[in-house]
């Protein structure tokens, strides 16, 4: 069971000195922002209650909260809280520090300068907040937790705003929906086909279908046997077309848990935990995943489907044929879980 608010308050109280240090540092860096300590503490507690506590069924510990406090972007949170409260100096500094960056991001993403300007205006409106609930203006700044950088958060907010703007003007069917329909149609068409030859061809067809069905089941189970971070790596690479350097960027932070899980058994981490992640490292991680998938795939075909090594080879050949044919996976689509 995840921790309750009184439990969080108790744990938080044990770390009061550390919270004081963070607050004092932030207040010294921005003495005109007018953020009260209670407001700063309330924001941290809200984040702990909203994200940290429910992330696991294990009760929170002081160490969990301590690690969160160590990584929180205090100055960014301080500015966001001040802006949410409507502090003029904070707004002015925010505008000075981030506006040109926000405009560059918007111009990069938008098709026209007019769209970019519209998005920036829209984001500023959201950041300031026009909706009032229980007498309080709802600023989007209050949803920033300080877990990531303010600049990164702004980037995500702008990206979202542009997607919304684009969606508002486009009612057509998405590419994904379109390809899905095509895929399903092709699969059903495949089942409706009647073998043109006699009994021999029918037997061959049934055998091939059996191999295909076993192949899909085995590849699905082999993928399912991987750890979540390994699955995510394969999905990023194969399904989302992420490049190796892009994946390397994702794990660039030496504290990244994703990086930690991959390097857990690696000697490199022990020698130099802060070493840069190169594309070749990501390739090695992928190769390890392939090896694990292949191992489970083959053992599943052998144990569960009672296939001999030569039949396993046929399964892979058939799958390769399907992949190189005009309807990739058209025969396998119906069986995919």
């Amino acid at each position: 069971m995840s921790s309750t608010r009184p439990e969080i308050d108790d744990l938080f109280a044990t770390l009061g000195k550390r919270v004081d240090e963070i607050f004092d540092r932030c207040a010294a860096n921005a003495p005109n922002f007018g953020v009260r300590k209670e407001c700063f503490e309330a924001s941290l507690k809200t984040t702990i209650g909203k994200y940290l506590a429910p992330a696991s069924s294990e009760p929170l510990t002081a160490n969990d909260i301590g690690a969160f406090l160590d990584s929180v972007q205090g100055d960014d949170l301080f500015m966001a809280l001040a802006c949410a409260n409507g502090n003029e100096r904070a707004w002015w500094e925010f505008d000075q520090q981030h506006r040109s960056y926000m405009e560059r991001v918007a111009r990069h993403l938008a098709k026209t300068d007019i769209d970019a300007q519209e998005v920036i205006d829209q984001v500023y409106v959201e950041l300031y907040g026009t909706k009032v609930v229980d007498g309080e203006r709802q600023s989007k700044f209050s949803t920033y937790s300080g877990r990531g950088s303010l600049r990164g958060w702004l980037r995500t907010v702008i990206w979202h705003a542009l997607v919304d703007l684009h969606r508002a003007g486009h009612d057509e069917v998405s590419l994904d929906e379109l390809t899905e329909t095509i895929g399903e149609g092709a699969a059903h068409a495949g089942f409706a086909e009647v073998p043109a030859g006699g009994e021999d061809e029918m037997v061959e067809r049934l055998t091939r279908d059996r191999y295909r069905s076993a192949t899909v089941s085995a590849i699905g189970n082999a993928f399912g046997a991987l750890e979540p971070h390994e699955k995510l790596l394969l999905l990023y690479y194969h399904s989302d077309g992420m490049k190796l350097r892009e994946i390397a960027r994702l794990v660039e932070n030496e504290e990244s848990p994703l990086r930690g899980w991959f390097q857990r058994r690696s000697a490199t981490r022990d020698k130099d935990p802060a070493s840069r992640i190169h594309e070749s490292t990501i390739m090695r991680w992928l190769e390890k995943c392939y090896a694990r998938v292949l191992e489970v795939f083959k053992s599943e075909l052998a144990a569960k489907h009672r296939l001999k090594p030569e039949e396993i080879a046929v399964c892979m050949e058939l799958a390769m044929e399907d992949l190189s044919g005009r309807g990739i996976y058209q025969n396998l689509a119906a069986d995919v879980k």
Binding site: G34, Y51, L52, A55, S56, G86, N87, E88, W91, W92, D95, H98, Y101, R104, V105, Y124, Y128, R137, T143, S145, R147, G148, S149, G152, R155, T156, D176, T179, I219, G220, F223, P228, L234, L235, Y236, H238, S239, E246, R249, L250, V251, N253, P257, L258, R259, Y290, V293, L294, F297, S299, A303, P309, M316, A319, M320, L323, Y329, L332, A333, V336
Partner: protein, 141 residues
């Protein structure tokens, strides 16, 4: 099972097989699952690698099933790479501060809300406490 040591050809084949399977799986899981998507704050923290292990584990599990959120993280990483040279906030020069900060804020808001009056109403001046009021009176004297 016979030979368990993968050879090069097998590895190439399993990559192709896996690639095809994963593309299809992404479309299926999206259609079948009704998922609460990750918010902007969590997406940002995940792509910056600043989540703790405790927080990252359910996020990673979510991303393996939700191609919508995964796609967002991919786009965010690409944006990060594109603007890597601008990661640090611009330095604020103290001398560049205008005489009245309120003018600047009103300028931004009046452009957004359409009139400076609306901006003035939208902007809330925090109430001054007694000490500040006395200080101001003393200064005026």
């Amino acid at each position: 099972m016979g030979n368990t040591q993968p050879n090069n050809t097998e590895t190439v084949k399993i990559q192709g097989l896996l690639g095809g399977y994963l593309k299809l799986r992404s479309r299926r899981t999206d259609r079948d699952a009704v998922l609460a998507h990750l918010d902007e704050d969590t997406l940002t923290a995940f792509t910056e690698g600043t989540l703790s292990e405790r927080e990252a584990l359910p996020v990673v599990s979510h991303l393996t099933d939700c191609s919508f959120c995964r796609h967002k993280t991919v786009e965010i990483v690409r944006l990060e790479l594109q603007f890597a040279d601008m990661d640090a906030p611009a330095q604020v020069r103290e001398t560049s501060e205008p005489a009245s900060v309120a003018n600047v804020l009103n300028g931004i808001l009046s452009r957004i809300f359409g009139s400076s009056e609306a901006a003035v109403f939208a902007h809330e001046e925090p109430e001054k406490n007694e000490e500040e009021k006395k200080e101001e009176e003393n200064t005026e004297e």
